[in-house]
Subunit: 333 residues, 2 copies
Amino acid sequence: MASITDVAKHAGVSVTTVSKVINNYTDVSEKTRKKVNESIRLLRYEPNVVARGLVKKRSWTIGILLHNIMTNPFVSEMMSGMQKALASSGYDLLHLSANFNDPDYSVIRHCSSRNVDGMVVFGIGRDNKIPMDLVKAELPTMFVDTDLIGRRAGYITADNRNGILTVMEHLYNLGHRKIAFVSGYLGYVAGRTRFEGYQQGLRQFQLPYYSNYVEISNFDMAGGYNAMQNLLKLPDRPTAVVCTSDVMALGVMNAVTDAGLGVPGDISVVGFDNTAFASIVKPGLTTVSQNIFSIGERVIHQLIELVENPDYSPPVLVEPVELIIRESTSAPR
Amino acid sequence: MASITDVAKHAGVSVTTVSKVINNYTDVSEKTRKKVNESIRLLRYEPNVVARGLVKKRSWTIGILLHNIMTNPFVSEMMSGMQKALASSGYDLLHLSANFNDPDYSVIRHCSSRNVDGMVVFGIGRDNKIPMDLVKAELPTMFVDTDLIGRRAGYITADNRNGILTVMEHLYNLGHRKIAFVSGYLGYVAGRTRFEGYQQGLRQFQLPYYSNYVEISNFDMAGGYNAMQNLLKLPDRPTAVVCTSDVMALGVMNAVTDAGLGVPGDISVVGFDNTAFASIVKPGLTTVSQNIFSIGERVIHQLIELVENPDYSPPVLVEPVELIIRESTSAPR
DNA sequence: TTGTACGCGTTATCAT
DNA sequence: ATGATAACGCGTACAA
């Protein structure tokens, strides 16, 4: 690949002049500009980002750290959104290969070694030191689903609270008064805010809070199944179950069916995420749809803004969600 | 972040000596080595990959080009495999932001501008010029599911042919003699080799080939649904349907059910991919499982080998698959 | 065994 | 308007 020197020689000018043309400096005559551009075209020259980065101490690279990719159904959707936002932005996405088990792995060293301009962090909670390291180092960072902010760090998350609130409203309007809540571990923001939505919903509709109606279990089908089995044992069992994920909701539905009961006839079930399952399962699962694609897009837009503008105030973004009503919810018997 | 100069000053040696220590040269005394390493530790020094890359014309970066991420259910699984293989390899994965619509986008320019060491290409077929550009430029490349090879390019794909062949054997042993084939577009290797497996299976068991039993449709649920509707109209309808994807199989199953027939009672249905759906749907879907995680791992291992060894012969890898038997197949009536 | 000098491809500064 | 020169952080041939 031709270098800037080749172009300079070919055009009969200095390297400096070529650089000026590339970077749209004004102090170069139209005539030389044309000549240089012609040489660039002929030699199929492309500036070397690495060399440029060395002097500018930048890389036009957004680093990303993904943990537990496989267990998260949204990775591909989020990446699609990011890909769209990155297209023709001049930035590429650098998937950092981190060994999360290595105790002396340092994101900061990794990033500065590669001159990474900004970071996206997804699936890594506060229990890990990485987020705080990023915040302290004041490297431009956007967290997804981790409510951490700093001088150069913001975050984005779906509007979990309102999502569950809408679910509660939907169920209340159908006539449900005995509504249970099935969730995975509450340590992450997503879980916590969804639980808050549940509690707020109860208050709003003046329903009592029964701790027996709250089941914290594994964040998968089996977790949902077990949780529902417990709920079915209750003397005054709920007529509706709100789950914090579609997979848990599937487990719940199976438990209901296996107990000889029907969904939604005996018990209404609601999921969260609107994964592909939700529309395929029978009965179709009422659930909350988060626009992950949009989250991916916005993360990148915000991050680039943060990178390029030192005074940009790190945003806290809450992405709206939407209730998708299908067949798994109806009025109670 | 401290630079190599800082370390040299701190240790009271020249920059060269520090460099030699970093790169494990033998011509440095144990004493100075210790001294230098101590300084490195104290200053939390990390060599700058960008500067190093400028000198060595490398980047310790594997570029990846993903097209249509969202429509492919395997991205996250493959990326997990790649992530595992990349951990502690020293390489990071650079997700190239390509504008596929831009006619004068050039992978080669993009790669050489960033000194990308090798490329992984996934979801981009021969109808695009990108793969051939890579082959011609002799940039170390591994294609996934695109059977293209070159002096520095190889590919990896699941053993689609044997996968379908195993399915045919399974159905034949159950007693099926009228076996239909439902597939998406046959332009890609995956589709083509699966079709070859179907044909080979027919020959192997001395079954006739009926073109009416072959339905090419859209690669989604609706496609499967429509295909099955056509098959149901046949005077001598099949007793088993082999699909080239789980989603198409779901569509097929729905069409069977909607026609008042049963799976597997009236018609056995087989999918491909063993996506999460397969085990959740009722009846559970008999399908072929590809080990995408392993494909991801192997792609990276091979590519790194290719990058670091100029004489390494580009591999053609076929990843074994496994038949997962569930409830959607049984002996015909 | 250690260090000097140069080059990698680019941009910034300053002189012309 | 143009160019010579230094610098970015590092690797290496060669000299000492």
